[in-house]
Each structure stands twice: as C-alpha cells, then as structure tokens.
Symmetry: C2
Subunit: 246 residues, 2 copies
C-alpha cells in the first residue's frame, strides 16, 4: 500500500527494554495514534542508554539529518539520573549541545514551588535541551520533552509519554488516517493464501494482511484490509468474503 | 556495564506491529531469554514486510555480513502468504536465493499426511529457505525456521516463536547470565539520582538503572542493579540501601 502520508520512525531508548525487564508500551501506543492520524510509521528501533548508539540511530532515522524518514519520535532517557543521556545525545546528533532552557527551568521552578520542594541540580538537569530546540509540554510532571529538526523527544514513563503525544501530534502536519477492516476465519493461513493473493492483486492501493494464531481449538487467521478509502476497503472485503464463502 | 557475552540484535518483521494492530511480544520474550542465558541484546528493530528494508536491516545487524552484532534473531514473515517475504529477503541479504529444503518438505509432508490434508503449493512455500541454511525445528506446526550466517529466522506467531527459541538457544554458544536485584522506593527519581550516581561510580562493572513510575499515590522509582557477579551486586545494593536509608 502506498500513501502520501508523512513517514515516521520511533526510537525507544532504554537498557530496561533490552534486558527484558520492561515490555515496551510506548511504541505500540504511538503506532496506533500515528495510523489513526495520518502518519505512516515505517520503522521502530530500540537502543541502549549509549551515546554512540543514540547518535547513530537519530542520524539514520531523521531526514533533516540525511536519515530515512520524515519524522522521528523518541521515548526515554530524559530524566534526572546519570543514565539519562538522551538530551546530550540528540544534541550531538544535531551538531549542537544541550543547555538549560529558560522556559523549562521556569516550569520546573513553578512545580517545585507548588510542591514545596527545592529545584535541586538533579531536577534542573531535566531543563537541559539542545540549543535551538522547542519544548513539548508535559501535562503530568512539568519536565518537558523537546523538538529539534524532525526529531521529537519524549519521556519514557508511559503516562508522561502519552501526555506528550496528546500534546504534540495535533501540532504536526498529518496526512490521511488509515482505515481497516478485519474478518476472522477458523482456518490456517495456507488455506486462505491463494484467495488473499488474488484479491490483493486486484487492489494494489490497499494492504491485505493475514495474521495467523493458534489456540486450544487449533489454527485461525485474521484477515485485515487496510487503506485510505473506506469504499475500496469495503469492495475488497466483499470479494474476499465471497471467495472464502463467509 | 561491560560483559564479554556475545552481542545480539532482534529484527521484528511485520506491518501489523507498525500499524499498531499488534503489540509485539516476541522481542520482549526473547530479550528475557537472552539476558538469562548469557547474551547481550543491544538492539531491536521493527521493519515492514518490505524486501529492501529487511535486506538493509539484516546486513546492518549480522556481523557475518559486516553488521554490528554477533547474532541476529528475526521474527515474522515466514508463513505461506504473498506478504511472507522473509526467506527471500534474508537469502538476498546473504547473497543467495531461497529454494525448497528437502528436510523441510519432508516435515511438512509428514504433517499433512498426519492431518489428512494436501501439501499444496501455498503450504510448500514454507519449505523454502536460503541455499546453505540449516533448519530450526518448529514443535507446533512443522514449518521450520532457519539459520544462515549469524542470522536466525523464526516465525511471528508467538507460540511458534517461543517453541523455536526453546529449541535454538541451548544450541548457541552463550556467555554468562546477567543477574539483577531491584529495590523500590516511594520517591521521585530526582530524589535518588545523587546517591545512585555515587554508587554507580564505585561499581563500574555493574549497571545501575532507575525506572520511575507514576500511580495514584504519586511517584515511585525502581532501582535495579545488574551484573554478572552476585556478590558484587549484593555489595552495591547494600551501599545503595544504606545511602537511601532503606
């Protein structure tokens, strides 16, 4: 399926995903939001809290740096601890450095005042963003994300990540949302492959996928038709159902 | 943290992950297995069912092709349908082509005989592997995975993927398992960052991570010490707890 939608990548930064300690939920959440709002997610990467790996990935994925995709969203590594190196690494990828952003500092100060706590050097670390970056609002806990070039940097804590996504996505120029319809058959994939291929050939503007599963009753397959045009999806689904006698 | 363990990457192949339809579970499962058995997972990528993207990723990740890591595990795209192109793409990455493997054909034929079904051309597609590949056994449904160079290709259906992982991993030369201990504090990350950094500096052979979360009671943080040596982990955890008065 070809769309003219802006292309996108997600870069998840965090040892805890690679060690198996944490199962990522941010990439999955953002993938759903991007489909529904008209962006074409083409790649996800997960890398360690490692400067060299982050810099290489940002450059490979952000087209403003010669990378592959129109937009890059990152998750993780913007907290106050020694292993939170995303701001410095993203700055380096964009050939600049990180420094305290006055607006971020003010947001953190206001929150500290409200909570009756002090803006310690550790907390202040979270106001550091690359020179030239603009801020992404954090509706949960003040410490902001930021955008530089086509890279949009967000927090790893799922609740904060989602808040930043909600704030950011409506501010980006989207394409057309992708629609889909699904039909489930209690047959293995091999038994539907021929009909699926035949219908796919008739609808090159759509994407036809088959997702087999296995449960206590044996094999089943979800057949999914995706595309931009609801009427075309309907036509393809009708043909598929007729061929499969559903 | 530095280990001499073999390094590894996971490549997940599938439009359904990028569209947000499916939340990947295979990479998370394999990440846990790799940590526990002595492999150092350094990168995860998710790409579309797209020949060019798969070829580029395999070449970037498998060190037998000049890529970055010692071992590459893939998930998805080896079924019978038109969008199952992993065998051909991995073959192309390794400068060869896919063809019917006699042993894979025999396994599929035996299963068809048992089930009283026919080995149709669609089913037979699943016996195609790159020339020179060896097979990975499929304990669920006969259609095998395969290994070529340092690339190990497995199915996307979670039950089948897990069966293949169980078969494959004990056959690979592992390093030392990574151990970890966790302590939970009901404080924000900023309040523990200083002590965490101090202890991390004393134990360069270990990895100290902090994973904040937010729930109805406010902020909390899990502090995780990881390493190869249980006694060192114990020492670092003791110092951390003393400093944090836990």
């Amino acid at each position: 399926m070809h769309t003219d939608n802006p292309t996108a990548a997600i870069l998840v930064i965090g040892d805890e995903i690679l060690s198996g300690r944490t199962r990522d939920s941010n990439a999955h959440h953002l993938a759903q939001v991007l489909s529904a709002t008209g962006f074409d997610l083409r790649e996800i990467r997960v890398v360690a809290d490692d400067q060299e790996q982050i810099v290489a990935a940002v450059r490979a994925l952000d087209d403003s740096l010669g990378g592959a995709w129109n937009l890059l969203f990152t998750s993780g590594g913007i907290g106050p601890t020694h292993d939170d190196i995303t701001a410095d690494a993203v700055a380096a990828a964009h050939d600049t450095t990180a420094q305290i952003h006055p607006q971020a500092r003010a947001a953190l100060q206001a929150r500290c005042d409200r909570m009756g706590t002090e803006l310690t050097p550790n907390r202040l670390r979270m106001a550091r963003v690359p020179v030239g970056a603009t801020l992404i609002e954090n509706p949960v806990s003040a410490a902001p994300g930021f955008s530089i070039g086509n890279t949009h940097v967000m927090a790893g804590v799922p609740e904060v990540f989602r808040g930043m996504v909600d704030w950011l996505i409506p501010r980006l120029a989207a394409g057309r949302p992708v629609r889909s319809q699904t039909v489930e058959v209690r047959r293995g994939e091999s038994d539907v492959a021929g009909d699926l291929r035949a219908v796919a050939a008739l609808f090159p503007d759509l994407s036809l996928g088959s997702y087999p599963y296995h449960d206590e009753r044996g094999w089943g397959t979800n057949l999914v038709v995706r595309g931009l045009d609801e009427a075309r999806i309907e036509q393809a689904m009708d043909q598929l159902k007729r061929r499969l006698e559903l």
